[in-house]
Each structure stands twice: as C-alpha cells, then as structure tokens.
C-alpha cells in the first residue's frame, strides 16, 4: 500500500495539555473536519455532527488564541459550524427560517462522506497495477500507428500551455503592492460570496457568526463596515437579500432572486 497521507496528526488530542495546533498538514477545512470525524471512530453516517462542530470550533479558537494565522476558508467553516451548532441546540425562533439544524448536519455529513469516498477511491486507484511499475509496454516498439489524418501531432494541452506561456511572457508585469488591510471590501465580498454557497432561499442570520470567527474584537468595526458594504453591493447585483428587523438586531441574509451576473460588467 502506498500511503496517501502520513497521518501524523493522529495523536494530537484536543484536550491535551500542550495543544499543538498545526493546520499545515490539512487540505482545507473539510479535510480537517474529516480528520476530526475519524477520531470519533465511528462510521461517518453515525457521526455526532454536534460534537464534531464543537471540536472544530475549539480547534480554531485555540489556533486563534495562540495567534496562528488561519486561511479564510477555515474561519468561514468555523462561522458556519457555529451557526449549525446554534441551530442544533436552540429551538428555532422563526418559523419560516430556513434549513433545520438536522438538514444542515446531514448536508455536512454527506460532504464528509463524499470526500472520504473519493479519498478511498484514490487509494484504490493508485494501488492498482500501474503501467511502468507493475505492467510494461513493448520495450522496442516497431512502429507508431498513424491514426489521425493530420501529419502533425499536438495536443490541446500543448496548444494551451504554449499560448498561456506566451501571453504571460509578454504581459506587462506591474506589481502593485497592496496595503495590507484586515478587512478589505474585496476580502469581505469574497467571504460573503463563499458563504452564499451555503445559503438557501430562506433567511439566515449568519452575520454575527461570521464576525465572531472572522475577526479579532478590535477589528470588528472595520469588519462590520466592510462586510456590510460588500453585502449591499451584492444586493445591488441581485445575488443577496438582506433584512433587519430593527436597529442592532441581527441581519438576515438569503440568496438573491437574480442569478449572478455574467462577467461583462458593463464598464470598460
């Protein structure tokens, strides 16, 4: 068996005294979740999603507490899981308010199961008898059958890589170093757009989870401002709808009615 992944994170219990937080070995939040799920030592279809959410959030909070920089993906997932957790624990305040905690949990478990299935498939694939390792071609071929009408050989990949390399070479590379901001409008927009994928047609109060996990308390003001501005822009484009029942009450989001606009943009 060719090991796909050196599972060196196995002993890294979350309740140990000296907690080592290292997400370097993980391929994104789903991977981390899958790893945590495996530690539950049950079949994925019998997993405790709630416990899993707890573990993940604890993991992320630990990472944040020792000031490890986490990719936005991990934080978005933490926000979503915190939301899921609240859905699972607290009776829902509004009747018409979107997917139940159970539905959300099932969706997550499905994604985990699917990822695990693909990982298993990859293992089985890579351990098959492979050409050049277990099975061999004719060492001294006597001819190459010409099957194409064309007398020239080139693949689409050849063509595209030649083009891309050429254009790249000639592109005027002017590097602008952006001022590092904690929450630029673009950041906020990207994160919102990603969360949008998790949203349904129903109102969802996601914003305060987002803020809780995406920012330090001191950055909260800028985060609120940026994400609110970004959400307004997305509302204008029809990708998002927002609702607020009163001042300082939670902001609800849901998918807009219009599909995302094409890349033409209008401006030149």
């Amino acid at each position: 068996m060719e090991p796909l992944w050196q599972d060196d994170t196995a002993q890294r219990g979350l309740h140990e005294e000296a907690l080592v937080v290292d997400i370097a070995g993980f391929e994104g939040p789903l991977d981390l979740l899958l790893h945590l799920a495996r530690n539950q030592r049950v079949d994925l279809s019998r997993i405790s999603v709630l416990a899993l959410a707890e573990q993940y959030i604890a993991f992320i909070e630990n990472a944040r507490s020792i000031r490890i920089e986490l990719a936005a993906d991990y934080l978005v997932m933490a926000a979503w899981l915190a939301f899921l957790k609240s859905r699972l624990l607290i009776p829902q305040p509004l009747k018409d308010e979107g997917p139940s905690g159970e539905e959300m949990a099932a969706a997550l478990a499905f994604r985990l199961k699917r990822l695990e299935a693909m990982r298993d498939a990859a293992t089985r694939l890579v351990n098959r008898n492979r050409l050049g390792r277990d099975v061999f071609v004719r060492g001294a071929p006597e001819h190459i059958p010409v099957e194409r009408r064309s007398a020239f050989d080139a693949s689409l990949y050849d063509l595209l890589s030649a083009y891309a390399a050429l254009r790249q070479r000639h592109a005027v590379t002017q590097v602008t170093i952006e001022k590092r901001q904690v929450w630029s409008l673009a950041d906020a927009r990207e994160i919102l757009a990603r969360l949008l994928g998790e949203l349904t047609d129903d109102w969802t109060a996601l914003d305060h989870f987002l803020l809780r996990y995406m920012t330090d308390p001191k950055d909260r003001a800028t985060a609120i401002a940026s994400s609110f501005a970004a959400s307004l822009e997305m509302v204008r484009e029809g990708q998002l709808e927002v609702r607020q029942d009163g001042a300082f009450s939670p902001i609800y989001l849901r998918k807009g009615v219009k599909p995302p606009r094409g890349p033409e943009g209008g401006r030149t």
Binding site: L30, A117, R119, N129, V135, F136, H143, G262
Partner: protein, 242 residues
C-alpha cells in the same frame, strides 16, 4: 463473408465445402496474425478501427480481437482492451521479474491524486464541483500536473450559465491504471448506489442526531453545557467500521 460477393466467387464455386472451410480458416488465421502484428508492434494502444482498416474487407475485428485476447490470457504477455483500443502488456503477476530500477512511476501529491479520483469518478466535472467536493481551492499546478501527465483533459463546456469548462480523463489514464473502461473504476457501482457521485444529498441519506436530539419534543429540555462537554469528550459508541 456476407453473401455471394466473396473475394473470389469463381473459386468458391469450384471448391467443395471442405475446401471452402479450409480457405475461411486460413483467412481467419491471416487476419489474426495481422491484428497481432499491428498491436504488438506498437507501444501505444491501437484503435480497433485502425486495425479494421488494415484487415481484409469483411473481417470481424471484434471477434478476432476477442479470440486473440483469450489466446494470450494465460501467457506472460496479455492482450488488453483499453476503451476503443487494444494493447499488449506484460502480465501483472510478473511485475516482480520485469521490474528494473529505471521503472519510475510519476509520484503524485495527495491533492493531485484526490483531484484525479474526483475527475475520474465524476466526469465531466467542473473545477467548481471539484472544489465543492474537496472543500478547498485547487492549488495552482494540480490540474496542470494531471494534464501534463496526459491523464486529464479539457472535455468541453457545461451547458449552464457561465458555460464552465469540464474535465475528464483520457485513454492514457485507463491504460496507466489498467482499466478497460471507466465502468471498471474500482467501487464505481457502490459509490453510485450510495448517491456519493451526485451533487445532491440522496433522499435516503440520513444522519441520526446524537442522543436523538433531532426530535426535541416539548417535554424535553435543550442540551446543556454539561452535555456539550460530554459530547466533545466522549467518542460516540460504536466500533471502528472502516
């Protein structure tokens, strides 16, 4: 040999049945020899249509190839079908003798391997779908490596808004992993049956909530902080089932 328009109608009439059968036999053997030579001479798989184009008119290529396949099955060199093509390959059980130090197989990163599997099982698949399954952006170079290896290709575009490009695997992919066709992908049927190859959650896919709190009845209390700690600490019962 359909109808009376055989290559040499005059001759056939002159001969009795036995001789005709002998001639047929000789023709079949000759066709087999040609097909054998064509495929044997090439390191790459040879398409059945190309073989057909080199055989006498009316030869039943499919049948010839099946006969050859059976003939070589017990031998040290096997005739394999790969998609619409045929190739001779050493028998897999002899890998230990044939192996030399030069035989190096491309080592793929874990990410690349995962992406390859997703493309193989879900094709045609868009990049967004791959990322949805993995829950992470595909890093630069991952798809590049797979395309350069000749295992993955641009297939076309999805007929949905935005017309995203779709990816699929190649014949070289089948050849490399010893697959006759995509249907031979290990576990494909089970995965399909379990609904794990579709984007949507299958209807029968249900996750029992821990401690039945999915049906929080009116006479039940919500879970307390204590319960939570317990949940976090305790691994749910049940044995390893993988």
């Amino acid at each position: 040999m359909s109808g009376s328009q055989g290559a040499l109608p005059g001759m056939i009439e002159e001969e009795d049945g036995e001789e005709a059968a002998l001639l047929d036999q000789r023709r079949a053997t000759e066709a087999e020899r040609i097909a054998e030579a064509l495929v044997f001479a090439s390191a790459q798989p040879v398409t059945e249509s190309y073989i057909a184009s080199r055989l006498p008119k009316g030869a039943d290529v499919a049948k010839i190839m099946q006969r050859l396949k059976a003939f070589y099955a017990p031998r040290g060199v096997n005739l394999l079908q790969i998609a619409d093509s045929w190739a001779f390959r050493t028998a897999a059980d002899l890998s230990f003798v044939v192996q030399t130090d030069e035989n190096e197989v491309r080592k793929l990163s874990r990410a690349a391997l995962e992406v390859l599997a997703i493309i193989a099982y879900h094709q045609p698949v868009t990049r967004a779908e791959i990322e949805d399954i993995r829950g992470v952006q595909t890093s630069k170079g991952t798809l590049d490596v797979l395309m350069e290896a000749g295992w993955v290709r641009f297939r076309g575009r999805r007929r949905t808004p935005g017309r995203p490009v779709t990816f699929g695997t190649t014949r070289d992919f089948l050849d490399h992993f010893g697959l006759e066709e995509l249907r031979d992908l290990p576990g494909l049927e089970e995965l399909k049956g379990a609904g794990l190859l579709s984007g949507r959650i299958p209807a029968n896919f249900q996750i029992p909530m821990p401690r039945g709190d999915d049906d929080l009845a009116e006479d039940e209390d919500p879970i307390t902080q204590l319960d939570l700690e317990e949940l976090g600490l305790l691994t749910p019962r049940g044995e390893e089932s993988e």
